[in-house]
Symmetry: C2
Subunit: 355 residues, 2 copies
């Protein structure tokens, strides 16, 4: 039997979006909302973030069918000032909720220089960069932070999994160069990436996880028995903690012990917290001057001589930008194990499948 890569099927992006949209409509989401969610999931796949796009469809559909997600939410502003809002996501799909928050943040930033929108009663929203990228269309810098949807990280020096991968994404537009987009978990690896390795039958490199004695864990199928490692030891723990306080606790969302493992428990409300910030460039600088200076910084980094063992210096987001170009042409790679799961979703919902 060929391995995952050999048997990979390439699916045109539009077909993948249509399939995801059909799936969400079949479980009760209004057409427009199903379309937006499907599109934002495919955006993650286009960027090469395979663990945060269509890969999540079976899990999302499972949660909706188990009653864990509200398919017809009333997403609304609960508190508001000139530059901030607290949004109640009403337990809707995170993609829809953050899409709305990004709009509000940009409108606030257009008026008052910066917009900071926090949310509670949201859900997993997929790839962080999808949202931090949005403000760039209006010449703004985007920052997005989320409480991860399952705790796999203990505090530094501890063994109780009280923290998640709590990611941050920051998107900065350039003039001629591609934007710089840093989308990172505060752990060495996201748990999603480890699930993809398990699905593909590949091993983890040392440094991704440790077992309960602190020894390296390499088999991704044993991931549930181990702990993720934070970047920079105590520093990454500190970042995960602070991001959790800002994205979760501040917004009245779950953080710490009350975080619901969205995969292990499909029916409990997750009360996920996130926040998105839009920073209007022209509040600080001439927009063209700024973008040209970002170009210059990109070229400075690329122009650095390389360290032994490296071919070239990369910019954050470069791999994703290249993936968008490539996958727009080739379609999205769907490994056979994922295709079987997607076929299962189609069969259960009685809709036309992908394969």
């Amino acid at each position: 039997m060929p391995d995952g890569n050999d048997a990979m099927k390439m699916v045109p992006v539009d077909q993948a979006i249509d399939f995801m949209k059909r799936s969400f409509m079949a479980v009760g989401m209004p057409d427009a909302d199903a379309g937006i969610t499907a599109k934002l999931m495919a955006d993650a796949d286009l960027m090469g973030k395979d663990s945060h796009g269509i890969f999540r469809l079976p899990g999302y559909i499972g949660r909706i069918k188990a009653g864990g997600v509200n398919t017809t939410p009333n997403i609304r502003i609960e508190r508001e000032t000139g530059a901030t809002a607290l949004v109640d996501g009403d337990n809707g799909m995170g993609h829809l909720v953050i899409n709305r928050c990004a709009e509000i943040a940009m409108d606030k930033a257009a008026e008052n220089g910066v917009g900071w929108v926090g949310v509670h009663h949201s859900n997993h929203a997929g790839a962080a960069a999808v949202y931090s990228n949005m403000p760039m269309e209006r010449d703004m810098i985007g920052i997005y932070v989320a409480v991860g949807s399952a705790n796999h990280l203990p505090p530094w020096g501890g063994t109780e999994m009280l923290l998640s991968t709590n990611p941050i994404s920051i998107s900065v537009p350039a003039m001629e160069e591609k934007p710089i987009v840093l989308d990172m978990a505060t752990t060495v690896s996201s748990f999603g990436k480890i699930k993809v390795l398990a699905q593909r039958g590949q091993m983890m490199p040392e440094g991704f996880m440790v077992d309960s004695d602190g020894k390296p864990l390499l088999d991704p199928r044993k991931a549930e028995e181990g702990f993720l490692l934070p970047i920079g030891g105590a520093k990454g723990y500190g970042l995960a903690l602070m991001f959790g306080l800002l994205a979760g606790t501040l917004n009245g969302a779950f953080f710490g012990k009350n975080v619901v493992d969205m995969n292990a428990d499909p029916s409990s409300v997750t009360n996920t917290g996130q926040f998105i910030v839009a920073v209007d460039i022209k509040a600080f600088n001439d927009v063209d001057t700024f973008k040209r200076n970002v170009d210059d910084i990109v070229r400075q980094m690329q122009g650095s001589p390389t360290m032994k063992g490296f071919e070239r210096v990369r910019l954050p987001g470069e791999t994703s930008m290249n993936a968008i170009d490539a996958r727009t042409k080739t379609g999205l790679p769907i490994p056979p194990q994922l295709m079987r799961l997607l076929d299962g979703v189609a069969g259960n919902l009685g809709i036309v499948g992908l394969s």
Copy 2:
């Protein structure tokens, strides 16, 4: 001869502040500004941040005498919206400049939920936590980010030192527990910490720096020949880059090749960039509810069973908070080599010294 620790002299905080104030007045700073700067420097020492307080006095005085810093700056708002400001520091001491920016950020946050204040033509401002702590007095969360004052970090995979330690500090108030304060460089170690090791004749642990071949560098006296390492490899490089773009490039401050090494070159204007954000808690949550929930998170972390090799789980900022309590009583520890430098400053300026 006893080593540094044995011969450490304990100096009462007020005496240290008075000495620093005298020093700044002797080189032309107005009394009030000299007092504010001295106080903010001593705040760093109180927190145990020995590389960012009085340790810097000889360097600061050297820069002022060489004409690199303006002792009578006109610190002013250059651009302004409801929630943002761009401040021109007029090449004043960074401490004074950021102290002013923090006030503006808090006033903006009181009015519009969040205040984001960026600055250019600033200078090194000492310890980041000093500034991110300020908004807590008004029930706000503080975030402070700076472009470091000397490039010792290459982009990941490169060998040209285009980046600095670009630190972030985030301060979150609690109710009964001490505030959580994360103050970290995006490199494994700050360069200041390495200078302190060199002054004390101690070696660096592996992982702080590498030489130009990427091999571990352990002798802090050879620090100028090597590179700092970012936390989490490419991720720490990404954070340092993004923080530089936000604190430097966005504000029209130096970042990348044009960063001036403030110690190697005392007379050039550094055009340092920083930004400070104040987030008003009540724009998102009931203040008391939030603080009690932060207490709960602190206790959750502290209550975690410990990993083999750890005595207990710490919170970010815990060591600094304990240092404040201890040093308020014992005074600031000044090692003999630093005392000789401070005596040299006093002699040069013709003022009463510390020893």
